[in-house]
Amino acid sequence: MDPQAVEARVQAQARRRIRGISLAELRRYPEVGALAGFLAVFLGFAIAAPYFLTLDSLAGIMTIAAELGLVAIGVTLLMIAGEFDLSVGSVLGVSAMAFALMARAGIPHLLAFLAALSLAAAIGALNGWVVTRGRLPSFIVTLGSMMFWRGVLLAVTGGFPIAYEGKSLLMFVLSGRLPGGFHASALWFLTVALIATLVLTRTPFGNAIFASGGNPQAARALGVEVARVKQIGFILTAVLAALAGIIQFSRFGSVDPLRGEGVELEAIAATVTGGTLLTGGYGSVIGTVLGALIVGMVRNGLVLAGAPAYWYRAFIGLVLVGAVIINLRIRRSG
């Protein structure tokens, strides 16, 4: 580029800076669109829905966001690495059920917890192995996985829910009530989000995740072990789904064989609303946290605003498409 053009670019840049924040700089942050959406939804409900700004309501939002968000964080990392996981809802259900059955059989909760997470890790590893070894689209493989494990769950339980009266320290640590109506799951959610953000943006592995989704051939040529990165992503996603499932079980004290159905799509919605690209290579965990909070606000806020709960899905659909449009505009500008 010749000096004049550079000069012109620098000046244009300076002008934009004077007007406010540079668009080009905004583009580096995938979560900008989600932040705008978050504020809009928050303000909208704060005005339209009485009691939306009460501690109870905010705690309720946080609880929904935490359980969905834990799943969505895994889905986000995997999506940035270039793969889908549609089986998270089934894995959530299977793990919660496995934990419940073991707890009822008198197995110590910590042991049952670790066993359920291991089971999920094995399912995730299998997903990843089939996808990377078979060079198959993860959309199809995990769709199959989703149906298979849901079917197993229904068959094993005969379709009946399982209730569990017991309490334990582990269940309290996972999802106990905290002051203000919050649940411990909120802390897990924020902790996992913080760690995932650090890994993604501040470690070589995070670099490898971005590269695996952004341009797998280039990544491979530079020595990134793309298949291994994806494999780890599948395992991590399944384990986080299991954690969410056991957290939810600890809150309800029961689990039914359809638990987690639809969570895979809500997790994708939260992820994409948060600015992560469906096609991989670009995204942010912070955006996903905001996306999960938006889902939580919509679910709680609509009820508080007096709208029938059935409108929830319709509204989420609108938010999702709106957020994607905003995200795309930011990416194309500057």
Partner: protein, 256 residues
């Protein structure tokens, strides 16, 4: 031929895909601080030869020597560890990632905090900025995505990266075929710089005019065979172009 003459030498390389011979016993060598133009029409076997050299494909027959020692790479990673690096035309960089992250991809500098390794962002920023300055590319920030750069700038950064990490043999796969004339000239200038710094270069192209200004030697492939191996001073670009276009009608050259 003395053992010390070649940085890398491939002898009698054969590679078949589903019974079709993509390489039918090719000899190919690159000397120290030598720029070799690897020429041929589409499907001549240029890419296959390079992929065998860099460990992407194992050869079905033949030997590879690096600095006189026999080597057998099972992955690009192993070839890379010896200092053989390929810059692919469209695969050089990950567009959506920042310039600095691309620069260090796969070789990130880290700072250890207890058992954890975190990216050394300051080092990444400083080194990348310095290399960009040397190349003559000005950007607002090294954290801008690569997509803000032109094709020539991307090639130059990929080459600069190879230089920075102490590569011995740089393989450029069609580095100029998608570039404007002005940008091509810049990249060629950069190839000269690479040789001055003591590296060897394999420059793959099907356009003799792109490589002629910088090459020391020209190797021409056709249908999986070597049909020409000349010092540049011995041939004109027109002759080479004729050879590439004419393909196998010319008699096979003697082996080196």
């Amino acid at each position: 031929m003395s053992e010390g003459r070649w940085l890398v030498e491939m002898r009698g390389i054969v590679k078949r895909f589903d019974g079709v011979e993509a390489l039918a016993g090719v000899d190919f060598a690159v000397g120290y601080q030598e720029v070799v133009g690897l020429l041929g029409d589409n499907g001549a076997g240029k890419s296959t030869l390079i992929k065998v050299l860099t460990g992407v494909y194992p050869p079905d027959d033949g030997e590879i020597y690096f600095e006189g020692r026999p080597v057998r790479f099972r992955s690009p990673r192993e070839a890379r560890a010896l200092g053989i690096e390929t810059v692919y035309q469209d695969l050089a960089l990950v567009e959506m990632m920042s310039i600095a992250r691309n620069f260090f991809l796969g070789r990130e500098p880290v700072r250890r905090v207890g058992p954890f390794s975190f990216l050394d962002m300051r080092e990444m920023e400083q080194v990348t900025r310095q290399v960009l300055e040397e190349i003559g590319i000005r950007v607002r920030s090294v954290w801008e995505p690569v997509s803000v750069l032109s094709g020539g700038e991307r090639q130059s950064i990929a080459i600069g990266r190879a230089l920075h990490f102490g590569v011995r043999l740089l393989i450029l796969d069609e580095p100029t075929s998608a570039l404007s004339i002005k940008e091509t000239r810049k990249v060629l200038g950069y190839v000269e710089e690479v040789r001055r710094r003591g590296l060897s270069v394999i420059f793959i192209t099907h356009n003799i005019y792109h490589v002629y200004p910088v090459a020391d030697r020209l190797v021409i492939l056709s249908h999986g065979r070597k049909i020409g191996d000349f010092r540049k001073t011995d041939v004109s670009p027109e002759m080479v172009a004729e050879l590439i276009a004419g393909g196998i009608t010319l008699p096979e050259e003697g082996k080196p």
